[in-house]
Symmetry: C2
């Protein structure tokens, strides 16, 4: 079944208000959840909402946790998220980085002790819509072994890079694991092997078996040693800047809460869009491997899905939809 964006957002907002979120936080969070579903990132939209509310119930997410400034040096600021709603805090941090960038060319905001920001792309789109280039990243609970090791020690630590563009922003939103755990679960449930190796078996050999990889928490870093190094360094930068919990400490706590995130925004009046168009054009002239699958730029599918879902309604799992509606009863 499909529901409209407004209907979805309205329901989620009402539930959040019922769970003690103030009007402003409920508005922003509901908008982000609904937008994630609208953009086709179903894993971090409505489908994730019950887990989010469960964390609120358990006291792991504090509806009234407010960002507080820890330190400021010039264009670099650090906040404590007070384990408030992660996507709300991340959105405020993005706005702040945009302001710093517009004032002085570039700004960097780090938040520690925050919760999961859901879909990283949210903040890339937000910054790009505000006219800024953005580089954002978060840490996460360990789910990948470092290169040369067998046990999970690295988070998938998503990285977002966004550049404004009139005809549709360019937004890359990528975790450091070849497949997300959510994607591997889909393969497991449909009893399909992964199309490419997605992790390791007990002996450290590459595996296409989603069930085994999920059980062992041995997701494969993209590019083997390279994604391992990149995930490690993002966690180091986050922790060095924010002084908050690293993947080590998050993993030790057993819950994926109290995360660290950094938002770098850059503003320049002229972003040379004509040159950007040439890059897109050049990239798309590569002969297709599969005649029916065009080469796409990061963000192209998102925009197409958004337009379709705004027109036709957002596809929702009926069971989930009914279960979430019950939260209002």
């Amino acid at each position: 079944m499909r529901v409209s964006f407004d209907e979805l957002k309205k329901l989620l907002k009402a539930i959040m208000i019922r769970f003690s979120f103030d009007e402003r936080k409920a508005e922003v969070c509901a908008d982000i959840f609904a937008s994630n579903s609208r953009d086709g990132v179903y894993s971090h939209g409505l489908n994730r909402f019950p887990v989010f509310i469960d964390y609120v119930r358990k006291g792991l997410i504090h509806p009234n946790g407010e960002l507080s400034l820890v330190k400021k040096y010039g264009q670099v600021e650090v906040y404590d998220g007070q384990t408030g709603p992660g996507m709300y805090n991340a959105s405020v941090c993005t706005s702040r980085a945009v302001i710093l960038a517009k004032e002085n060319g570039i700004g960097c905001v780090t938040v520690r002790n925050n919760n999961h920001w859901m879909r990283g792309g949210t903040y890339g789109w937000q910054a790009a819509d505000a006219g800024c280039i953005a580089i954002c990243f978060t840490n996460a609970i360990a789910g990948m072994p470092p290169w040369g090791g067998k046990d999970a020690r690295l988070g998938n630590n998503p990285l977002v890079i966004a550049v404004p563009r009139k005809e549709g922003n360019l937004v890359l939103d990528m975790a450091m694991s070849q497949y997300s755990y959510g994607k591997m679960q889909e393969y497991e449930w449909s009893k399909q092997p992964l199309p490419f190796a997605g992790g390791f078996d007990e002996s450290g050999n590459l595996s296409h078996d989603p069930a085994m990889i999920r059980r062992l928490k041995t997701a494969l870093p993209i590019g083997f040693w390279k994604g391992s190094g990149l995930a490690f360094m993002l966690d180091i930068v986050l922790t060095a800047l924010g002084g908050g919990k690293s993947t080590a400490e998050i993993t030790g706590s057993g819950n994926e809460i109290g995360l660290s995130q950094t938002f770098i925004c850059i503003y320049q009046q002229d972003l040379h869009q004509a040159l950007t168009e040439k890059i897109i054009e050049f990239t798309k002239t590569s002969t297709r491997t599969n005649r029916d699958s065009p080469v796409r730029y990061p963000g192209e599918n998102t925009l197409a899905t958004r337009i379709k879902n705004m027109r036709e309604g957002i596809p929702v799992n009926q069971e989930t939809w009914e279960a979430v509606k019950k939260m209002m009863e």
Copy 2:
């Protein structure tokens, strides 16, 4: 054979002065070439020097090309490299980004119309030695197909992330291709297949054959669609900020010259080194896949090689060494 760092640097500097570099530029460039060999990055040290001088001879690198400021908005500056020596310009841009960061927390310097910076790690080490976190990247001539395409449209666009650390900086220096063309050449010459798929064959299937991949220019982006997206976005950011040549235009020109590079430095007095140490410690506790190969942090091997090569001398290919010495005759 092995030569000392000082001997290597002295020779390269003398040759550069002979090729019309002024004393300061020759000093910096020779130091970078010699340091790259010293740190074990032989492909971008002495071994690359003859190609560098060949480019000077052909007028592709201008010994006296001076950086000139194109625009400045707050902490963001753009320079034109006037096709001067790439590693010199990159080093000056790094110094400038460090100054901006120390003044105001963060600085971003982009150079367009520069030449190859050789080893990206150079600028990560430089910034970290100066107490800054650094994120630097460059574009390059096309050598990888975008995901879904068969023809090279993306540069390997190396990304560097560095964080200062007393016991040895953390420095990641990674290109977006699974293997560099230099590394694939080594496998080809020793008639070995690549240990992991490193590119595509004519039909777009994954291949371990270094000769074919080199011929077709179909190096594999790390993580397939992910590295493809990341390489694309780095080129977009570089071009949007600098207004210089993108991979499209570099590739069109036929020579890997006139590149774009961005250097972001961040300064904070307290980088929470105790927390950084915990991350390293936690990562290293992952059970080893191979008992004799410890899990290493990015930069760990570099530092070990540096110490060894400073003590024992830098290994050089005798033929290359003699050929370079002949440049003084």
